[in-house]
């Protein structure tokens, strides 16, 4: 048999290699090296971390390819980059750059308010955010090879990531207990592809890796998301908006490995300097929230 590239197994497989790890947002190659030295399994290359996107306002787009290429040169771990929801040309450009994963992300300003990118034909795998099982399965139907909770990026408030993890895991548990004749009606109610529900029902989990994202700022937050059943953690603003990024980054990496060991977590959490200031999600006007972006 000839070598086959860009199969779903290798797309999904890279995410499987990232499990139990931390993917960190970085805006410079210097940040990228700090992240790699701290034990990140991958970095997300972007121009502004979500907290700054939130503060600056305006339209948030794909980063300058020059910046992404510099970050790719700086580290040996996988490099991810974000494109806007529905912006297939930004995704094509990221594919041409050879990034390792594309995040079709609600953190950027959506380019399309009705449709997402059809992701199957791309050679680069995609990760997409989800708030519930229906949304996760719609993204998988379009070809995503990895899912993350949306949370509420750039807030340092973990409450939305917890909500989305609870909803997804809860819906999986509920689905497993449904008699077959009820699955189709649930598919209608949840906006979920029927075949996808059947697969989740038999596996007892999503068929791809599911990370936590959106508001994780401390080692305890990261361990919480792992205890809720997530496969790993994205940390955006939480590291480089904190007082001592290198130290905090290394601590979050350790916390994801030792997420069940409270004595170690206590040790890991000591003397990390100031966390990012953060902003309670409940204090943010509805029109400024990003988790609702996605269709």
């Amino acid at each position: 048999m000839e070598q086959e590239t860009a199969t779903f197994a290798v797309k999904k497989g890279l995410a499987q290699m990232l499990k139990g790890g931390v993917i960190m947002d970085v805006v410079t190659s210097e940040h990228a090296r700090i992240a790699e030295d701290a034990g990140a399994v991958a970095v997300m290359a972007l121009e502004r971390v979500p907290a700054d996107i939130r503060a600056d306002g305006g339209v948030a787009r794909m980063s300058d390819p020059e910046l992404i290429l510099k970050i790719m040169d700086a580290v040996t771990i996988p490099v991810m980059a974000k494109c806007r929801i529905g912006h297939m040309v930004e995704a094509q450009i990221l594919e041409a750059l050879g990034v390792d994963y594309i995040d079709e992300s609600e953190v950027l300003t959506p380019a399309d308010e009705t449709y997402h990118i059809y992701k199957h034909p791309f050679k680069i795998p995609f990760v997409c955010g989800a708030r519930n099982l229906g949304e996760a399965l719609r993204r998988l139907g379009e070809g995503a090879a990895m899912i993350r909770t949306k949370g509420e990026a750039g807030t340092g408030d973990v409450v939305e990531a917890v909500r989305h993890a609870r909803v997804i895991m809860g819906e999986i548990r509920r689905l497993q207990n449904l008699p077959e004749e009820e699955v189709m009606t649930v598919a209608k109610e949840w906006g979920a592809p029927y075949e996808g529900l059947l697969e989740v029902r038999s596996l007892g989990r999503l068929p791809v890796v599911n990370f936590a994202a959106g508001g994780i700022a401390t080692p305890a937050d990261a361990a919480l998301m792992m205890q809720l059943g997530m496969d790993g953690v994205f940390v955006g603003s939480g590291i480089f908006k904190s007082g001592d990024p290198a130290r905090r980054a290394a601590a979050i990496v350790k916390a994801v490995t030792h997420y069940q060991d409270a004595a170690l977590l206590a040790e890991i959490s000591r003397n990390l300097g100031e966390p990012m200031v953060g902003r309670a999600v409940s204090s943010i006007p509805a029109e400024e929230l990003t988790a609702g972006r996605g269709w």
Binding site: V10, L18, K19, V99, K254, D261
Partner: protein
């Protein structure tokens, strides 16, 4: 047989599922004391820099080296890098296999691939030829083997992707991502 799986980071659950299917008992290893009473150890795929850093931080380097003197260890992808004596860049390595590896030898994720390898040392499955369907993800190559290490499997172009040295086994690819448990059976035989 009680098999540990280094669970610092990576796809350790996939290895665990395969071993449980074969009737082995499994233990997740995150700290040195978790090695007590194990018969063998698997180091999974993941990011070798992350696994190395966590192993150093939690005092696992020497205990793992000592474990390898007495017991079988198998490293897949990142695990193979971690076993090697030389990865051509500074990063924590156990350095217990006489192999030199090159990380990301095939390129980036876009170059990840699947291929059938000739594996005459494995039993034929279901009357098929003695090949193994191998999944390579940002995979390393085993550039050279020396000492008591020997090549076990290679790509059609001759580049080495699996090596064995006594009871140490290194594969560039991920048998744990397939439904084919013959490599895991082979390892359990080695570990006896």
């Amino acid at each position: 047989m009680k098999v540990g799986i280094l669970a610092l980071q990576g796809d350790f659950i996939e290895h665990q599922a395969m071993l449980l299917r074969l009737g082995a008992e499994t233990v997740e290893v995150r700290l040195p004391q978790h090695l007590d009473g194990l018969d063998a150890l698997i180091i999974p795929g993941g990011e070798s820099t992350t696994i190395g850093k966590l192993a150093e931080t939690y005092g696992l380097m020497e205990p793992l080296r000592q474990f390898g003197e007495q017991h079988a260890i198998w490293g897949t992808c990142a695990g193979a890098i971690f076993l090697s004596k030389d990865a051509r860049r500074p990063q924590p390595l156990l350095g217990i296999m006489d192999i030199m590896v090159m990380r990301n030898a095939f390129g980036r994720q876009v170059d990840s691939f699947e291929v059938d390898l000739d594996t005459p040392f494995l039993p034929a499955s279901n009357g098929h030829q003695k090949t193994f369907h191998a999944v390579f993800i940002r995979a390393p190559l085993i550039e050279s083997v020396w000492g008591s290490a020997r090549s076990l499997a290679a790509l059609p172009n001759g580049r080495i992707v699996a090596a064995r040295q006594g009871r140490l086994l290194a594969t560039s690819f991920h048998p744990e991502l397939t439904g084919d448990d013959r490599f895991h059976r082979y390892f359990l035989e080695m570990a006896k």
